[in-house]
Structures are given as C-alpha cells and as structure tokens.
C-alpha cells in the first residue's frame, strides 16, 4: 500500500549540509523505515515566505507528513498553523520552529553545541600564559535561533574568564548569513586593528572559522600562531585545517544518526503509532507547546580524536587527507 507523500523541507543552501548530506541520508533511511512513503525534498533558499508557500503547496498535494527544518525559526508559525488546520503532522528537524504545533523535534542540542565550543575555547585560553588573552568573537547570523543558543552556550564558559580579566574580547561581530567572506574581512580588520595581537579567534561554525583561517593565511601567519576555535559541522575542509593545525576543533553532529532517528519518528507517525516514546528523551518549548524532543549528542573533534569522524563513517581518511597528505595525522593514518 501507498503510505503517501512525506515532504522534507530544507531551509537554505548556504548551510549546505542539509542539501548535500541530511536530505540524502533521510531518503536513504526512509527506504527501510517506511519503504512505501514517497519523500519529496524541497529547499526554501533561505526565504521564510517561500518555505511557507512550500508548506501550503505540500498541503495542496495531500502531504501525509512534513519534516521541517525551518528557514527562520521565528517566521514559521504561519506555516505550522496551516498544517495544523489541514491536520497534517509536522516533525521538526534540527532547527527550531517557534510558535506552532509540532509532533516531535529531532535535534542536536544547540545549547550543547555552544557549550562544547565554549568549553574547548576556555581550555585553549587557559593554556595561554599571557593575560589578558585577546579574543576575537566571530558570531553567526544575527537573530537566528541557533546563533542565540550557540552564543549562550559559549558565554557560559567565556563570561567568567572575561570577568576575571583573563580574557579581553577585542573584536565581536555577527556574520551576515554565515558568509565566510564577511567573516574573513572581519578577521583581517581585527588583526589590523590590533597590530596582529589577537590570540584566539572564536567562531561558531566551520564557515566562520574558515574565514579566520583564510585571514591568517592572507596576512602571512603560520599554523599554530593563533588559535582558531569554535567550529561545528565537521566539514571536510575544516577537518583538513584541523589536520594542518590551522583550526583547533569542530563540533561533530552525526547527521546520519539524526536522519535515521527522524526516519524512525516519521515512519511511526505514518503508521498511526504516533511519536515513538522510547526514543524521546526531552522536550523543547517553542513558545506554543512543549515539543517532545529527540536530543542527540554532539562530540567535539580536535586533532586528538580526528579518527572519530572516520570510525563514525562521516568521512574517510582519504577524503580528509586529500591535499594535506603530508600532515602528521594523515601520514599516520593513510
């Protein structure tokens, strides 16, 4: 029998993971979890209005379920209300969705990501003898829900250090649309402003940290001269930087796990069994209700546990080491 159409609505292409990894993983997982369901993937291209239209058009087409990664958590309530009015269940994937009804939320705890980044940054800062340690904070897209959570998590570790005088934040800026070019210009100007005397670049994802690395390279620094930390997503480029010593860390979110869990939840709802209680391990309040949540663990990847990415099947050593074969980690593992 035909279980009907499931729409997986992606937020944008700038956070490329959704298009290039999450969606294929989910489609794959659905083949075993609910082989009869037809999965349609659509991308809102960063436009919340477009995403609402996609929800409406999904309803027109008789969607059975919508798996939603909001383009903007704050402007999705109208879409959720439309789905609710049409009696179509919505499951949230990764991004929050404020102000409407949802069945479940599968997510890497954003706060935990920020905490992992903050914790690691604090460790690195404490290793530096100098005081105060000069830190440049290059934050994510302002006003985005994730950015707020990451900042909160980082602050938990950073604020005390600032208070104690160990850390001096010398530059701080949001990065419009997480654009690495913007991050790069900002990092360059920060270096210039301080005559090169910046010790730590704390980013929020691999794009923003990549901008800092490019700035350091363009200004003639060498790996290890400065600490670049605060990555997330474990993109292959970032891992190469980690291998080379340009970048300190990247918080790994195992997207295959996330997609598989999502497929389980979706299949169960399609079967009429509702959200599987056994995998729900928390709740997320989205201003409308407490959404039952499947909170997934995150893991911070540094040069010391780079192999984790490989053992989890996210990337192979070959992929990571392409072009950086002569680094020590790669020599050791190829």
């Amino acid at each position: 029998q035909d279980a009907g159409k499931v729409f997986f609505l992606l937020p944008n292409t700038t956070t490329i993971r959704f298009e290039s990894r999450d969606a294929p993983f989910f489609v794959e997982a659905m083949k075993t979890a609910a082989p009869n369901a037809q999965v349609v993937v659509q991308n809102a291209q960063g436009d919340p209005q477009q995403q609402q239209r996609q929800i409406e058009d999904a309803i027109s087409q008789g969607a059975k379920l919508i798996l939603l990664t909001s383009a903007d958590a704050n402007l999705i309530a109208g879409g959720l209300a439309a789905a609710q009015a049409a009696n179509i269940p919505v499951v949230l994937y990764d991004h929050d969705a404020v102000g409407g009804k949802a069945e479940a939320h599968i997510v890497f705890d954003s706060l935990a990501v920020g905490q992992a980044q903050g914790k690691r940054a604090a460790e690195m800062i404490n290793k530096i003898e100098k005081s105060p340690v000069k830190v440049a904070r290059i934050k994510g897209n302002q006003g985005e829900y994730g950015t707020g959570q990451y900042e909160k998590g980082q602050d938990e570790f950073l604020k005390p250090l600032i208070a104690s005088g160990k850390v001096q934040v010398v530059c701080e800026q949001y990065t419009q649309n997480w654009d690495p070019t913007v991050a790069q210009s900002f990092a360059e100007d920060c270096l210039t402003k301080n005559g090169g005397d910046v010790d730590v670049f704390l980013g929020m994802n691999d794009g923003t940290t990549g901008g800092s690395v490019a700035a350091l390279i363009s200004q003639g620094f060498k790996p290890g001269d400065k600490v670049v930390t605060g990555g997330q997503d474990a993109t292959v480029e970032a891992l190469r930087y980690v291998a080379q010593g340009w970048q300190d860390n990247s918080v790994l979110k195992d997207l295959k796990v996330e997609a598989t869990e999502a497929a389980k939840v979706v299949a169960s709802i399609l079967d009429g069994k509702g959200v599987p209680k056994e995998i729900v391990n928390g709740k997320v309040n989205n201003g409308f209700m407490d959404v039952p949540a499947v909170l997934l663990p995150v893991e911070n990847i540094t040069i010391d546990n780079l192999g984790e990415v490989v053992s989890k099947g996210v990337w192979t050593w070959k992929e990571i080491c392409q072009g950086v074969e002569d680094t020590e980690v790669c020599k050791a593992n190829m």
């Binding site: 436009d47 058009d57 383009a71 704050n74 419009q176």
Partner: protein
C-alpha cells in the same frame, strides 16, 4: 489651406489576421500570454495545479510580492527606484508588532500607524533624492541598510514578536465566502460600471463618439465574466481570502488613479520628460514624493499582510538584511509585468501579472517537486521565457513602432 493629416481609421476595416489581433488587442496585457503558457505547462505536469485549492493558494502566495510591486511601480513610473521597500516592509511590520505586543496598542491603530510610517519613510527618501540630487538608487540602498539596522534594534532579545491572537492573524485567515463573496463581486462591478457609464455619458453629453456596445456593454460584461470565474473558483475552495480582496481593491484604486486622475497622468509625464513636466507647472518633487510615499505605505501594508501570514515578525521580516528575495522579486514582478526601469511606461496590471508569473513558476515547481538545483535553473529560464514569448510574438507580427 487645411493641414493634412492622414486619417487613421480606414474607410472599411479589413479583416484582421490572428497575428494582428495578438499584436493589437492583446498588447494591452503583454505578459498575459506568457502567464497562460505557464499555466498550460504546469496543468499538464500536475493534476493538482488547476484545483481550486491550489489556484486560491497561488493567488494568496502572490499577494505580498504583488502588492510590493504595485507600490514600487509608482516610483518606477517617475524614473526612480526604491531599494528600501523591503526594509520598510520589515521595519514597519516589526514596529507594528512591537506596538501591539509590547505596548498593547490596538491593531486598529497600529496598522494605520505602520502604514503612515512607511509612507513617511518613503517621502523622506524622495526629499533627499529631489533636494540633494543623489540618485535614488544610492539613497534608498543606504536607507534600506539603515532601516535593517533599526529593525534589529526594535526586536526583542528573542528576535521575534508572535502575532497569534492579536487580531493581526485575522488578515490572512479571513475568507469571504458564499453570498458575501458574490456581493463583493457585484459591488466591485457596480463601481466599475459606474465609472464606465459616467465616462460614456460625459462623452455623449460633450457630443463625442461613444458607441454604447463597445464602450459600455462589452467592458463591463468582460469584467463581470472574469470576476465571476475567479470568485467561483475561490468560493469552491474557501471563499475570497481577505488578502485577495485587498489586492483587488488596491488594483481598482490604483488603476483609477493611474488612468483617470491628474496625479496619475503626472506620474507618466514626469517619468517621460521631467523637464517638460516642470515647465508645464507640475511640481515634480511633490509628485516624486507622493510616488515614494505610496511605495513606502504600500510596502508597509505588504509587511503587515506578510506578518499576518507568518504569524510573527523577526529578523527576516522584509527579506532580511539587504532585502533578499523579497526586494528582488518585487522589482522583478514590476519589470516582468512590463513596467520600464527608464520611466513613464507601465500599467496597473503589470505588478499583479508579474507577481503571478513569479508565483506560478514557484508554485508549479513546488507541485512538480523538482530538485533544488534543477529548480533554480528552471525558474530562471521560465522567467526569461515567459517574457520572451510575448516579445517573440511581437517580432513575428511586426514591430511596435513606438
């Protein structure tokens, strides 16, 4: 000694080829052909496309961009541009939400205030443009960024104001159904008929030609028939959405202003030959100010409708920093509909038709469910083709000479 002018109506009107028909009568609505072609294509690709639910959807989805483009058109007509309309859309909707949610102001006050503020912002850019002489492209680009910054400042720490149960949500949710819908249609047609008849009556009183059948019966009948089809479709789903009614009213009023009033005429005059307009005693800077104010006020209205649809406002209200898709689509809708970026040319249908083309492509591709990359490619090509069809027919049937 009489001056000789070639008579324009030949004694016996020759039968006209299909090409001529297209190139004359249908020229009035240029992009319509492209739109119809798109409709055929998507209907053949998805059996959902022509359902009343989807058509109703499509209309609603095109309203925000359509309204924005409608307002922008006034500015384009006078050979200026307003890149801040998306930012106005965003900042005024956030302001409205702030009034309502934070200060408990009634929507009945907050909405008009927001629209007035939008208009005020527009008129400020016009003053800067006309007084200082900086190109409107630069003024409104800068102003837009400044307003984006203001919008961020106005938002609370959560970066969102929810609008559920404030009354604002009713704008998007209200539908006029059953007999009320028909009543609305009848009222609209009556208003239109009133204008047409009074025009013809005047002409006849003045002793001018005005064939009853051609200038009274036919236009009214056509309008009634078209209106009835649209209303019937909408009713068979859930009635006329209030936002669609708003668009209809704006179109009606806008068409009246552009075609029948002095102000409308002056827009065309200023856009075509600013110096001639000035010499004719038209207060060019006032006309431009009004045009920008209209664009600003209408952008605010679109922002409110958008906020009502999304049930909240945030950083991305108004398309986000730089105006994003909303800005680009609003300008594109007007241009696709046939408004010239070089001033003085464009008619009221333009905005809506352009927005419908953009909306149809988006909606149709959503229904077809193509992949993201392909989607972008197809969207791009379809927009170009929709406009090209029209031009290609024009080429095939002989040039427009003027």
């Amino acid at each position: 000694m009489a001056n000789i002018i070639i008579a324009e109506v030949p004694a016996k009107r020759p039968r006209r080829s299909f090409g001529e028909l297209l190139s004359n009568d249908l020229r009035a609505l240029p992009i319509v052909i492209g739109l119809v072609a798109l409709g055929f294509f998507f209907a053949s690709q998805s059996d959902v496309f022509l359902t009343s639910r989807n058509l109703s959807n499509l209309l609603i989805q095109s309203t925000v961009v359509g309204i924005m483009a409608l307002g922008l058109m006034f500015v384009l007509l006078v050979k200026e541009i307003d890149l801040s309309i998306a930012a106005i859309n965003g900042v005024t909707s956030v302001l409205m939400a702030k009034f309502i949610v934070e200060f408990g102001v009634s929507p009945w006050i907050a909405v008009p205030v927001a629209i007035l503020i939008g208009a005020a912002i527009g008129s400020c850019s016009a003053r800067w443009v006309t007084f200082v002489g900086v190109p409107s492209f630069v003024v409104t680009l800068g102003l837009g960024l400044a307003l984006n910054g203001l919008q961020l400042m106005l938002l609370p720490a959560t970066a969102r104001y929810g609008l559920q149960q404030t009354g604002i949500e009713m704008i998007a949710l209200t539908n006029i159904s059953g007999v009320w819908a028909w009543l609305a249609l009848v009222l609209g047609i009556l208003a239109y008929a009133g204008l047409v008849v009074s025009d013809v009556a005047r002409r006849q009183r003045a002793g001018l030609q005005a064939p009853f059948m051609q200038s009274v019966v036919m236009p009214i009948a056509a309008a009634a028939a078209f209106g009835a089809v649209v209303v019937a479709i909408l009713i068979s789903h859930q009635g006329i959405p209030l936002v669609v009614l708003i668009v209809a009213v704006l179109l009606g009023v806008g068409g009246y202003v552009l075609n029948s009033t002095r102000f409308g005429l002056y827009l065309y005059a200023v856009g075509n030959n600013e110096e001639a307009a000035r010499r004719a005693g038209i207060k060019v800077s006032t006309i431009k100010m009004a045009a920008f104010a209209i664009a600003g006020g209408i952008a605010a209205l679109a922002g409110i409708i958008g906020a009502s649809r999304t049930l909240g406002v945030g950083v991305f209200s108004g398309g986000g920093v730089g105006g994003g898709t909303l800005l680009l689509e609003s300008i594109a809708a007007a241009v696709i509909g046939g408004v010239s970026l070089f001033g003085g040319r464009g008619s009221i249908h333009a905005a809506l038709l352009g927005a419908l083309v953009i909306g149809t492509v988006g909606n149709g591709l959503n229904l077809m469910g193509v992949e993201n990359e392909v989607r972008l490619i197809v969207t791009g090509l379809m927009l170009v083709l929709a406009v090209s069809i029209d031009k290609l027919i024009e080429r095939a049937t002989g040039h427009q000479s003027f």
